[in-house]
């Protein structure tokens, strides 16, 4: 029955959608706000997972461990920014270099390729109750976290510092003429963006209870999908809308994937990616025809 999703599959899709919504936020800041194509995310996502698992196993409080993961992500972003701004390496290439290096770094942090987190508290543990199943509780906690982060980011982008970052991406030359240090903005933006992606990785690890060095494969596609799909649903210009759009876009992607898993007549397991892409294209075209053009960069 292609048109139904079990509650488990639906909740799973929403949960993955929320986790990768954080990745979407990070990708939004680098690709859209700063106009900096950043592939570091393929490394910073598993970095967040690795750091949080190792930290929790070492006895740290899971919230603190998640913070460590964010800091690690920020450092990765700073490396990419340094390679680009100081080393004068083109942005895309700089990010690829960092994500390649992170591969080895993650193996070192994990002490191997895969580390499970079977025991140990996560940020979800205190919310576990008999009233409400974990499968429902986790998306709620994630949504709550997402709201807080969006609010913080929104406030940031409305501040002078945040406005300077947005201007850097829109018109770097004019920004410099207005006294904005575009170099500094790239450092801050890269750090912020990859910290968010690493938080996504840390959340993934705590939900799925393991970290793996190959976790990063496909992260950039998922992040971009979230941003692009989201901007179709939220074309309004004020900055808060694309931020919310990252989460909505991510959830739409994961729900589409869940539907694709149900299969359509004639589809084989090989066709999963094709069908997912097709479903999303269909949604985007339908929305486009009804509602209007894709949003400009904000």
């Amino acid at each position: 029955m292609w048109w139904y999703l079990s509650q488990n599959a639906l909740l799973g899709a929403v949960e993955s959608g929320l986790i990768y919504g954080f990745v979407g936020l990070g990708v939004y800041i680098s690709f859209r706000v700063l106009d900096f194509p950043d592939l570091t995310v393929e490394g910073s996502f598993p970095l967040g997972a690795a750091v949080v698992v190792v930290a929790i196993l070492a006895g740290y409080d899971p919230w603190l461990a998640t913070l460590f993961a964010a800091i690690a992500g920020a450092l990765a972003g700073l490396v990419t920014a340094a390679l680009n701004q100081i080393g004068k390496i083109p942005n895309l290439l700089a990010s690829i270099l960092t994500s390649t290096a992170l591969y080895s770094v993650n193996l070192h942090i994990l002490g191997g390729a895969n580390v499970p987190l079977m025991t140990g508290d996560t940020i979800f543990t205190p919310f576990s109750s008999s009233q409400i199943s974990d499968a429902v509780m986790r998306p709620l906690v994630l949504a709550f976290l997402g709201i807080i982060i969006i609010a913080l980011l929104w406030r940031y982008f409305e501040s002078n510092s945040g406005l300077a970052m947005r201007a850097t991406g829109v018109n770097p030359r004019m920004s410099r003429a207005q006294g904005v240090s575009t170099a500094a903005q790239i450092f801050i933006g890269m750090a912020l963006s990859n910290a968010l992606v690493a938080i996504g990785g840390a959340l993934f690890a705590q939900v799925n209870r393991y970290a793996d060095s190959s976790l990063g494969i496909g992260t950039i596609v998922l992040g971009l999908a979230a941003v692009i799909i989201g901007s179709t649903f939220m074309p309004w210009k004020r900055i808060i809308f694309p931020l919310i759009g990252c989460f909505i876009g991510s959830i739409v992607y994961w729900v589409a994937l869940a539907y694709a898993l149900n299969g359509i007549p004639g589809m084989t397991p090989f066709d999963l990616n094709l069908v997912t892409a097709g479903l999303i294209a269909f949604v985007l075209i339908a929305i486009g025809k009804f509602g209007g053009a894709l949003n400009d960069r904000t």
Binding site: N114, L117, Y210, L222
Partner: protein, 324 residues
């Protein structure tokens, strides 16, 4: 308008669980859901072996039984969604091939039996505490590579060998675990290990080339990355007249000089047999983990001629299969 569409989607999704229940009640199916982290020959053989075992026992796709398969296409996040889907569809047994798929399945359910396959170290992966006594809903078939036996085998094939080259992807747990044992066993047998890594299949050729001239033999275990580019590695080895010894017997059919170890079709068969026991109602606590038998020995005489090598008589006698 956008909001209207969103609202409609929401309404459809909200009501579907109701429909789902109804359709499940209509036909009482037994469903075995199989998932693999990625497609590649050894893992595919596990799936096929399992399916054949089931079919032989009378479990064919019909009104009362379904064998479904989903691949995570090498994305761990997809593996998670697949596991959720299987649990939501209330299948009877989940078969998870490969460590990340197994971890996803075990995390997604504590009720539906999960049978893992092609996982080298289930304890390290957090799947089972005690392989002999399943304490949760998890059991399976481990394909632990008999590295010690392989080292002895290499010494038998090449008594004068000093250095063994090892090709692997450092981010694959199974390969890393095997390397550790390899180093220990090599040391015991007076051999040195030279490592060469490939992070993606596209790097396998260069990784193999890097060993040329430095080693007396090249050895691989069940590394997904290397096995996916096996022909390339074998070609390079043969061009440089280096004996290529693999752990998956199927590799010999693909050109390796010799291969000894786990037959992945057999892993699939064993997995299928565990599934049958579960379908028939046996409790998972009574089904300890199995270790795949490793007594298949394939040799390739064609390759031997190509690189100017003669198999010792003892090996030829023992061989399960000789490829000409």
């Amino acid at each position: 308008m956008r909001l209207l569409i969103l609202a409609l989607c929401g309404a459809v999704l909200a009501t579907t669980p109701a429909f789902a229940e109804e359709s499940q009640q209509a036909v009482k199916n037994q469903v075995v859901a199989v998932t693999s982290i990625v497609e590649h020959p050894a893992l595919d053989e596990v799936r096929d072996g399992a399916r054949e075992a089931l079919e032989k026992a009378g479990y064919q796709n019909s009104n009362h039984f379904k064998f479904i398969y989903q691949s995570a296409q090498n994305r761990q996040s997809t593996a998670v969604q697949i596991a959720r889907k299987f649990v939501g569809d209330k299948v009877n047994v989940i078969v998870a091939i490969g460590t990340p798929s197994a971890q996803a399945a075990v995390n997604a359910t504590s009720e539906i039996p999960v049978v893992f396959a092609a996982v080298t170290d289930p304890i390290a992966a957090g799947l089972m505490k005690d392989p002999a006594h399943p304490d949760k809903n998890v059991t399976g078939v481990s394909d632990i590579t008999p590295v010690a036996a392989h080292v002895k085998f290499i010494k038998e094939l090449l008594p004068n060998a000093k250095k063994i080259g090892y090709l692997y992807n450092p981010s694959e747990t199974n390969s890393v675990a095997a390397l550790k044992i390899l180093k220990e066993e090599a040391a015991k047998n007076g051999l040195e290990v030279v490592e060469s890594t490939a992070i993606q299949t596209s790097q396998v050729r260069n990784a193999t080339l890097a060993l040329a001239g430095k080693v007396d033999a090249i050895y691989i275990t069940t590394d997904n990355t290397v096995v996916s580019a096996l022909e390339t590695a074998i070609m390079v080895a043969n061009e440089n007249k280096i004996p290529f010894i693999a752990a998956d017997p199927a590799s010999a059919s693909r050109g390796a000089l010799a291969a000894a170890g786990v037959n992945y079709h057999d892993v699939g068969k064993l997995t299928g047999e565990i599934v049958i026991r579960l379908l028939k109602g046996e409790k998972i606590a009574d089904i300890p983990m199995e270790i795949a038998p490793t007594n298949d020995l394939y040799i390739n005489q064609k390759t031997a001629k190509l690189i100017g090598y003669h198999f010792p008589h003892s090996v030829v006698e023992r061989a399960t299969k000789i490829i000409e």
